[in-house]
């Protein structure tokens, strides 16, 4: 499923015109991305939690060449599904 299919499903389930669906999905995604960029987590009850985590620098290896490299510190977004979602899909 891609963004276009989500737009279609909003059209079919809520009756929202496709152009408006598209705009509001972008707004939802932008609002979530902005929240992550401020380092804030998002908890959607019944769906799951997106956590923003800071990773420290660590040693890694290029799996192709076997070369030792330093993995730079970075920020990642992780997702933990709610128990409800887990029970359904896992």
């Amino acid at each position: 499923m891609t963004k276009a299919d989500i737009i279609n499903s909003l059209f079919e389930n809520v009756g929202l015109p496709k152009k408006e669906s598209e705009e509001i999905i972008e707004t939802i995604l932008d609002a979530m991305k902005k929240t992550f960029s401020e380092g804030e987590s998002i908890k959607i009850s019944g769906f799951g939690t997106f956590n923003v985590r800071k990773k420290r620098s660590r040693r890694g290896r290029n799996p192709k060449t076997g070369e030792d490299i330093e993995i730079t510190p970075r920020t990642v977004v992780t997702f933990k599904p709610s128990n409800h979602l887990k029970a359904n899909v896992e």
């Binding site: 499923m1 999905i25 939802i28 992550f36 960029s37 990642v76 977004v77």
Partner: protein
């Protein structure tokens, strides 16, 4: 941030829609992802991230309390991988 705070933020940014309308749409948005996962589909949202089910092989594990060996059956786990645009956004500067 919680679901209701997200709904609030989206309402502010969407003139012409009431809070109740936004709420219905935000619900439907997450529901469409849940529905796709229930069908076993992978979800790709360009710039944001992908959700997919990863297959885990069965394995033997140990009960840490008793030391007893237990069989862990094969299962699927839901995995989120953030998209390129999101990765760059939260890692800039």
């Amino acid at each position: 941030m919680t679901r209701s705070e997200l709904i609030e933020l989206v309402t502010q940014r969407t003139p012409g829609l009431t809070r109740v309308q936004t709420e219905i749409i935000v619900e439907a948005f997450f529901q469409s992802i849940v529905d796709a996962l229930n069908r076993g589909e992978k979800i790709e949202v360009r710039g944001f991230g992908n959700f997919r089910l990863k297959q885990r092989s069965p394995r033997k594990a140990r009960n840490p309390k008793t030391g007893e060996v237990v069989d862990v059956p094969a299962k699927k786990v839901l995995h989120f991988k953030m998209g390129k645009e999101l990765r760059e956004l939260i890692n800039k500067r």
